[in-house]
Amino acid sequence: MSDMKQPEQSRRDFLSLGAKAAAGLTLAPGVVLYTVAQAKPDDQAVSNINRWGMLIDTTKCANGCDACVTACEKENGWGNSGSEKHSSVSQKPQWIRKVELRHKETGEQHSLPMMCQHCETPPCVDVCPTGASMKRADGIVLVDRHICIGCRYCMMACPYKARSFQHEALTDQSPNAPRGKGCVESCTLCVHKVDAGDGTTACAQACAAEGHNAIIFGDLKDPNSEISKVVAKYATKQIRADLGLNPGVRYQGI
């Protein structure tokens, strides 16, 4: 076996060398591109050194703006970027949606995006009979589309209605998201971008591009990350905190 591994190993070493070179790529004296350094080699398992999460500042989230939704659709190939032809509006998946709030007593209004909250103890993972619903060591909650049997119990269990069932056969799926008929899907926290070391998600990028900067993506375990600094300083909220699920997505301003 070890003999067989050798060519593969040398290939990896070569790639890793390339990555290291890229990690320290000097664009100009004093300007070094570091982002690629976060990229995790594909043969290395994710670890609990990171806990990826998002902070959504509802005071910055604009009513009527759905740039995050559109960006997610495009990135992961659902909604307007999907190939559903038959599903009704209530059958079409929505990985992220804008929710409008108005307080019944005070009339205070908020607009915010809702998506999978990437709980530390996700009810969807608890109830899944086959283990298809799973949480990575770095806190990202995913569906293993190879062993999802389409029972939808996770959809019954999710307090945030974050999951959707795929009601029809699809074509031309995005390589970023292997979606298919009869399985359940939801926000992946742009796991493909996280693993590539992009350090952001499509929704956060789109929100920033619109100039709102309402979504901060980052590592909640890294005390120097922007998200950690903000949650350490300001009051933030987890939706349905009473359930004690410790979601990785937090909200500010509600």
Binding site: S90, Q91, Q94, K98, V127
Partner: protein
């Protein structure tokens, strides 16, 4: 008491007509499955808000009824009531048949029924669903062994032990079925420990109603004597079980009504829920509980066989309505993520969800009942499940005509 003589039923014209009718329903059901699985679930009324629909109503009803159908045997073997002993083989058979009927529906509604083997090879032991897969299979195996100990002379000495094991297993099984809802922390209508015992009492009632109907029908169709004594016992017991279900339903709603947090969902089910309110009060409570109680206990109707049969049928209809209200009503009421706020979104946040089952879903559900009845019909034809006589003097040695 004379030794009970069990025989196969004769296969007359009526028998084959019954099989043909059930076969036609099975074919229609398979057609519905092909339609749903080939196209995908977009052809159903289910969606991302009402994720479990009509197939699940029938499946859960049948699975609950299955464990209850075994009670008649348990009363004989575990609680030593001699009169129930001749009924034990049919009781065991019906419980297996109902469970297989329910599971057929459940499995054929999966998004990926082709991956059933995955459900048998990948287990997440924290999932009550995964436990239920083990509980269902274990139940089938135990009841088959129980039937073997009853029907094979050499094994007779083990039948009490097998009956006891099956009885304990069935209690655990229905606890598991109730906990599918009881352990859902997120939804307003669920998340209640009461669900497990409530489902057990529901199983007593639905299972016995099914048993009484199958018993009456099979004895009528085969022209075998069925005495009043045994029917009176069964119908009185059914009345007690109906009362038990009513008690649990009342405690569930009173508890919710006391907690302000749950006033919304209670107002929805009990007052403002449209179809769910109608199904709850009119079908589940009045038609499915109070009317059968009156029919079973009123001196004018209590001894009338037609009335007993109607009462049993009403319990089944009321039971399906009850599961519908729990299952669909519980999903129709929105999740409360932002208490105090009016909520709206493109994904039906804060909105009451509507569900219109399609013919395919209803056909698939009814197919589950047909599967159960067809299994019973074939089994009583090929094996000796039914006593030759359940006349009063045959079941009760002290009976005086």
């Amino acid at each position: 008491m004379k030794k009970t003589l069990y025989t196969q039923v004769e296969g007359g014209k009526g028998f084959y007509l019954l099989l043909a009718a059930l076969g036609a329903i099975l074919l229609a059901g398979l057609g519905a499955v092909y339609h749903m699985e080939h196209n995908g679930h977009w052809v159903t009324g289910m969606n991302n808000q009402i994720v479990w629909g009509m197939p699940h109503v029938f499946a859960i009803f049948l699975i609950v009824a299955a464990s209850g159908a075994l009670n008649v045997a348990s009363i004989g073997s575990v609680f030593g009531k001699k009169m129930y002993k001749p009924l034990a083989p049919l009781s065991g058979l019906l419980s297996i048949a109902l469970l297989l009927g329910g599971l057929t529906v459940l499995v054929l509604d999966l998004g990926r029924p082709d991956r059933l083997i995955v459900a048998m090879t990948h287990y997440n032991f924290k999932s009550i669903f995964a436990w239920n897969i083990i509980l269902y299979n274990g139940f089938l195996a135990l009841v088959i062994v129980y039937l073997w100990t009853m029907m094979e002379k050499r094994m007779n000495r083990y039948k009490e032990a097998a009956g006891f094991a099956a009885f304990i297993w069935r209690l655990i099984l229905t606890t598991g079925t109730g906990s599918i809802f009881g352990w859902l922390v997120a939804r307003q209508a669920y998340d209640a420990a009461l669900m497990a015992p409530m489902f057990i009492v529901m199983s007593f009632s639905f299972g016995l109603a099914f048993f009484i109907l199958v018993l009456m029908a099979s004895y009528k169709m085969t022209c075998r004597p069925l005495g009043d004594v045994i029917l009176a016992r069964l119908k009185n017991l059914l009345g007690v079980f109906i009362g038990g279900v009513l008690y649990f339903v009342m405690v569930y709603h009173l508890t919710n009504l006391y907690a302000t947090e749950h006033h919304g969902v209670e107002a929805f089910i009990l007052r403002d829920g449209g179809i769910f309110t109608t199904l709850f009060w009119f079908v589940q409570i009045i038609l499915g509980s109070l009317l059968p109680l009156a029919l079973l206990y009123h001196p004018a109707t209590g001894k009338n066989r037609t009335a007993i049969a109607i009462a049993s049928l009403l319990v089944i209809i009321g039971g399906i309505a009850q599961v519908y209200v729990i299952l669909i009503g519980g999903q129709a009421y929105p999740l409360i993520n932002f208490p105090g706020f009016e909520v709206s979104s493109s994904f039906a946040d804060g909105a009451i969800n509507s569900y219109s089952p399609t013919a395919a879903e209803i056909t698939l559900g009814i197919m589950g009942i047909a599967v159960a009845l067809a299994l019973v019909a074939v089994a009583v034809k090929v094996l000796r499940f039914l006593p030759e006589s359940l006349a009063d003097e045959a079941v009760d040695p002290h009976h005086k005509a």
